[in-house]
Protein backbone atom coordinates (compact mmCIF):
# COMPACT_ATOMS: atom_id res chain seq x y z
CA UNK A 1 0.00 0.00 0.00
CA UNK A 2 1.16 3.52 -0.68
CA UNK A 3 3.09 5.41 1.99
CA UNK A 4 1.33 8.48 3.38
CA UNK A 5 2.45 11.66 1.69
CA UNK A 6 3.55 14.21 4.29
CA UNK A 7 4.76 17.68 3.49
CA UNK A 8 6.37 19.98 6.06
CA UNK A 9 8.82 22.80 5.41
CA UNK A 10 12.50 21.82 5.50
CA UNK A 11 13.18 24.22 8.35
CA UNK A 12 11.26 26.88 10.25
CA UNK A 13 12.05 29.73 12.64
CA UNK A 14 11.07 29.39 16.28
CA UNK A 15 7.60 30.80 16.86
CA UNK A 16 6.71 30.65 13.15
CA UNK A 17 3.36 29.11 12.22
CA UNK A 18 3.86 26.52 9.49
CA UNK A 19 1.54 24.36 7.42
CA UNK A 20 1.53 20.57 7.41
CA UNK A 21 -0.02 18.71 4.46
CA UNK A 22 -1.07 15.06 4.63
CA UNK A 23 -2.44 12.68 2.01
CA UNK A 24 -3.03 8.95 2.37
CA UNK A 25 -4.31 6.23 0.12
CA UNK A 26 -7.76 5.00 1.21
CA UNK A 27 -10.92 4.15 -0.69
CA UNK A 28 -13.27 5.86 1.85
CA UNK A 29 -16.17 3.58 0.89
CA UNK A 30 -19.21 5.47 2.15
CA UNK A 31 -21.50 2.56 2.93
CA UNK A 32 -24.23 4.22 0.87
CA UNK A 33 -23.36 2.57 -2.44
CA UNK A 34 -25.00 -0.54 -3.86
CA UNK A 35 -23.79 -3.21 -6.27
CA UNK A 36 -25.61 -3.90 -9.54
CA UNK A 37 -27.50 -6.70 -7.78
CA UNK A 38 -28.66 -4.43 -4.97
CA UNK A 39 -26.31 -5.50 -2.21
CA UNK A 40 -25.09 -2.65 0.00
CA UNK A 41 -21.32 -2.15 -0.13
CA UNK A 42 -20.23 -1.95 3.52
CA UNK A 43 -18.69 1.22 4.90
CA UNK A 44 -14.90 1.30 4.99
CA UNK A 45 -13.52 4.69 5.93
CA UNK A 46 -10.78 6.36 7.89
CA UNK A 47 -12.49 7.66 11.03
CA UNK A 48 -9.78 9.47 13.00
CA UNK A 49 -6.57 11.35 12.41
CA UNK A 50 -4.16 12.82 14.91
CA UNK A 51 -0.84 14.60 14.82
CA UNK A 52 1.61 14.88 17.72
CA UNK A 53 4.58 17.19 17.95
CA UNK A 54 7.34 15.74 20.13
CA UNK A 55 4.73 13.60 21.82
CA UNK A 56 2.07 16.24 22.42
CA UNK A 57 -1.10 16.15 20.33
CA UNK A 58 -1.49 19.36 18.36
CA UNK A 59 -4.31 18.47 15.97
CA UNK A 60 -6.91 15.77 15.54
CA UNK A 61 -9.93 15.15 13.36
CA UNK A 62 -12.97 12.90 13.09
CA UNK A 63 -13.67 11.96 9.48
CA UNK A 64 -17.06 10.96 8.09
CA UNK A 65 -18.05 9.21 4.82
CA UNK A 66 -18.35 12.64 3.20
CA UNK A 67 -14.55 12.94 3.08
CA UNK A 68 -13.27 12.07 -0.41
CA UNK A 69 -11.18 9.00 -1.17
CA UNK A 70 -7.45 9.42 -0.54
CA UNK A 71 -8.11 11.73 2.42
CA UNK A 72 -6.28 15.03 2.19
CA UNK A 73 -5.87 17.16 5.30
CA UNK A 74 -3.78 20.27 5.93
CA UNK A 75 -3.44 22.18 9.18
CA UNK A 76 -0.93 24.42 10.97
CA UNK A 77 1.11 24.48 14.12
CA UNK A 78 3.57 26.78 15.88
CA UNK A 79 7.26 25.84 15.63
CA UNK A 80 8.49 25.28 19.20
CA UNK A 81 11.60 23.12 19.05
CA UNK A 82 13.17 20.68 16.58
CA UNK A 83 11.87 17.16 16.74
CA UNK A 84 9.42 14.68 15.32
CA UNK A 85 5.89 14.96 14.06
CA UNK A 86 3.90 11.74 14.45
CA UNK A 87 0.83 11.10 12.33
CA UNK A 88 -1.78 8.43 12.98
CA UNK A 89 -4.86 7.36 11.06
CA UNK A 90 -7.40 4.77 12.24
CA UNK A 91 -10.54 3.52 10.61
CA UNK A 92 -13.03 0.74 9.92
CA UNK A 93 -11.94 -2.89 9.73
CA UNK A 94 -8.98 -2.24 12.01
CA UNK A 95 -7.36 0.21 9.62
CA UNK A 96 -4.27 1.81 11.14
CA UNK A 97 -1.62 3.85 9.38
CA UNK A 98 1.17 5.99 10.74
CA UNK A 99 3.95 8.23 9.52
CA UNK A 100 6.59 10.53 10.92
CA UNK A 101 8.36 13.64 9.74
CA UNK A 102 11.31 15.51 11.15
CA UNK A 103 11.04 19.22 11.79
CA UNK A 104 14.07 21.49 12.15
CA UNK A 105 13.49 24.65 14.15
CA UNK A 106 16.10 27.37 14.04
Amino acid sequence: MARPLINVPASVKRGQVFEIKTLISHIMETGFRYTTTGAQIPRDIVTTFSCSYNGEEIFSANLYPAISANPFLTFSTVATESGTLDFKWTGDNGFAESATAKIVVE
Binding site: S60, Y64, P65, I67, T74
Partner: protein, 156 residues
Protein backbone atom coordinates in the same frame (compact mmCIF):
# COMPACT_ATOMS: atom_id res chain seq x y z
CA UNK B 1 -71.63 -7.76 -8.12
CA UNK B 2 -71.07 -11.43 -8.45
CA UNK B 3 -69.28 -13.78 -6.17
CA UNK B 4 -65.56 -13.61 -5.62
CA UNK B 5 -63.75 -16.48 -7.26
CA UNK B 6 -62.11 -18.88 -4.79
CA UNK B 7 -58.80 -18.26 -6.49
CA UNK B 8 -59.02 -14.53 -5.70
CA UNK B 9 -59.34 -15.15 -1.96
CA UNK B 10 -56.40 -17.53 -1.99
CA UNK B 11 -54.39 -15.05 -4.01
CA UNK B 12 -55.21 -12.30 -1.52
CA UNK B 13 -54.03 -14.47 1.38
CA UNK B 14 -50.84 -15.39 -0.44
CA UNK B 15 -50.09 -11.81 -1.36
CA UNK B 16 -50.80 -10.73 2.20
CA UNK B 17 -48.38 -13.35 3.51
CA UNK B 18 -45.76 -12.39 0.93
CA UNK B 19 -46.09 -8.72 1.87
CA UNK B 20 -45.70 -9.62 5.54
CA UNK B 21 -42.61 -11.69 4.77
CA UNK B 22 -41.15 -8.96 2.60
CA UNK B 23 -41.80 -6.32 5.23
CA UNK B 24 -39.68 -8.31 7.63
CA UNK B 25 -36.74 -8.44 5.22
CA UNK B 26 -36.97 -5.00 3.59
CA UNK B 27 -34.42 -2.62 5.08
CA UNK B 28 -35.43 1.00 5.28
CA UNK B 29 -33.33 3.14 2.97
CA UNK B 30 -31.18 5.54 4.99
CA UNK B 31 -33.02 8.84 5.12
CA UNK B 32 -31.46 11.54 2.98
CA UNK B 33 -30.05 14.39 5.00
CA UNK B 34 -32.32 17.41 4.92
CA UNK B 35 -32.00 20.91 6.31
CA UNK B 36 -33.72 19.66 9.52
CA UNK B 37 -31.23 16.83 9.89
CA UNK B 38 -28.36 19.26 9.41
CA UNK B 39 -29.87 21.54 12.08
CA UNK B 40 -30.29 18.55 14.42
CA UNK B 41 -26.69 17.47 13.84
CA UNK B 42 -25.54 21.01 14.61
CA UNK B 43 -27.64 21.04 17.80
CA UNK B 44 -25.95 17.80 18.92
CA UNK B 45 -22.65 19.63 18.86
CA UNK B 46 -23.75 23.07 20.01
CA UNK B 47 -26.50 22.21 22.48
CA UNK B 48 -28.74 25.12 23.44
CA UNK B 49 -26.12 27.84 22.87
CA UNK B 50 -26.78 30.48 20.26
CA UNK B 51 -24.75 30.46 17.06
CA UNK B 52 -23.51 33.79 15.73
CA UNK B 53 -22.69 34.47 12.11
CA UNK B 54 -19.17 35.66 11.42
CA UNK B 55 -15.47 35.11 12.20
CA UNK B 56 -15.58 31.90 10.14
CA UNK B 57 -14.42 31.89 6.54
CA UNK B 58 -15.66 28.89 4.54
CA UNK B 59 -14.01 28.51 1.15
CA UNK B 60 -15.65 26.12 -1.32
CA UNK B 61 -15.73 26.55 -5.09
CA UNK B 62 -19.17 28.00 -5.98
CA UNK B 63 -19.39 25.72 -9.02
CA UNK B 64 -17.92 22.27 -8.61
CA UNK B 65 -16.68 20.16 -11.56
CA UNK B 66 -17.24 16.89 -9.78
CA UNK B 67 -19.08 16.28 -6.51
CA UNK B 68 -16.76 13.40 -5.63
CA UNK B 69 -13.84 15.68 -4.77
CA UNK B 70 -14.61 19.22 -3.62
CA UNK B 71 -11.89 21.39 -2.08
CA UNK B 72 -12.79 22.84 1.30
CA UNK B 73 -10.81 25.37 3.35
CA UNK B 74 -12.06 26.75 6.66
CA UNK B 75 -10.35 29.46 8.69
CA UNK B 76 -11.52 31.23 11.84
CA UNK B 77 -10.56 34.71 12.97
CA UNK B 78 -8.90 34.02 16.34
CA UNK B 79 -5.61 35.01 18.02
CA UNK B 80 -5.10 31.36 19.05
CA UNK B 81 -3.54 32.29 22.40
CA UNK B 82 -3.72 30.16 25.53
CA UNK B 83 -6.81 32.06 26.70
CA UNK B 84 -8.53 32.79 23.40
CA UNK B 85 -8.54 30.05 20.80
CA UNK B 86 -10.72 27.84 18.64
CA UNK B 87 -11.39 24.48 20.28
CA UNK B 88 -12.99 22.79 17.30
CA UNK B 89 -14.43 23.35 13.85
CA UNK B 90 -17.34 21.21 12.64
CA UNK B 91 -18.53 21.05 9.04
CA UNK B 92 -22.04 19.97 8.04
CA UNK B 93 -23.94 19.49 4.81
CA UNK B 94 -27.60 19.58 3.85
CA UNK B 95 -28.28 16.85 1.29
CA UNK B 96 -25.75 14.04 1.59
CA UNK B 97 -27.00 10.80 3.20
CA UNK B 98 -25.29 11.96 6.39
CA UNK B 99 -25.11 15.53 7.76
CA UNK B 100 -21.53 15.44 9.12
CA UNK B 101 -18.47 16.10 7.00
CA UNK B 102 -15.55 16.50 9.42
CA UNK B 103 -14.78 17.71 12.93
CA UNK B 104 -11.32 19.03 13.69
CA UNK B 105 -9.91 19.68 17.16
CA UNK B 106 -7.42 22.47 17.63
CA UNK B 107 -5.78 24.37 20.45
CA UNK B 108 -3.39 27.25 21.04
CA UNK B 109 -0.58 25.19 19.48
CA UNK B 110 -2.30 25.38 16.10
CA UNK B 111 -1.09 28.92 15.56
CA UNK B 112 -3.80 29.46 12.97
CA UNK B 113 -7.37 28.16 13.15
CA UNK B 114 -7.26 26.89 9.62
CA UNK B 115 -7.54 23.55 7.88
CA UNK B 116 -8.35 22.23 4.44
CA UNK B 117 -9.57 18.95 3.02
CA UNK B 118 -11.48 17.44 0.08
CA UNK B 119 -15.03 16.16 0.51
CA UNK B 120 -18.02 14.81 -1.34
CA UNK B 121 -21.24 16.56 -2.22
CA UNK B 122 -24.13 14.49 -3.54
CA UNK B 123 -26.05 17.43 -4.94
CA UNK B 124 -26.09 21.21 -5.07
CA UNK B 125 -26.57 22.24 -1.42
CA UNK B 126 -25.56 24.38 1.53
CA UNK B 127 -22.42 23.61 3.53
CA UNK B 128 -22.06 25.03 7.05
CA UNK B 129 -19.00 25.36 9.30
CA UNK B 130 -19.37 25.93 13.05
CA UNK B 131 -16.45 27.13 15.20
CA UNK B 132 -16.47 26.18 18.89
CA UNK B 133 -14.48 28.81 20.83
CA UNK B 134 -12.63 28.53 24.12
CA UNK B 135 -14.99 31.10 25.68
CA UNK B 136 -17.95 28.81 24.94
CA UNK B 137 -19.30 30.84 22.02
CA UNK B 138 -20.20 29.39 18.63
CA UNK B 139 -19.73 31.10 15.29
CA UNK B 140 -20.76 29.94 11.83
CA UNK B 141 -20.56 30.51 8.10
CA UNK B 142 -22.38 28.83 5.21
CA UNK B 143 -21.79 28.45 1.51
CA UNK B 144 -24.17 27.52 -1.29
CA UNK B 145 -22.46 25.10 -3.71
CA UNK B 146 -23.63 24.07 -7.17
CA UNK B 147 -22.58 20.54 -8.14
CA UNK B 148 -22.49 19.31 -11.73
CA UNK B 149 -22.24 15.63 -12.57
CA UNK B 150 -19.82 14.01 -14.99
CA UNK B 151 -21.54 13.64 -18.35
CA UNK B 152 -20.10 10.22 -19.24
CA UNK B 153 -20.48 8.07 -16.13
CA UNK B 154 -18.70 4.74 -15.92
CA UNK B 155 -20.33 1.37 -15.84
CA UNK B 156 -23.48 0.12 -14.13
Amino acid sequence: MGKTKPGATRRAVMLGGLAGGLAATIRLEPAQATPERMRAAIRTVVGEASIRKGRVDLEVPPLVENGNTVSLAVSVDSPMTATDYVKAIHVFNEKNPQPNVISVHLGPRAGKAKFSTRFRLADSQIVTAIADMSDGSFWSASADVIVTLAACVEGI
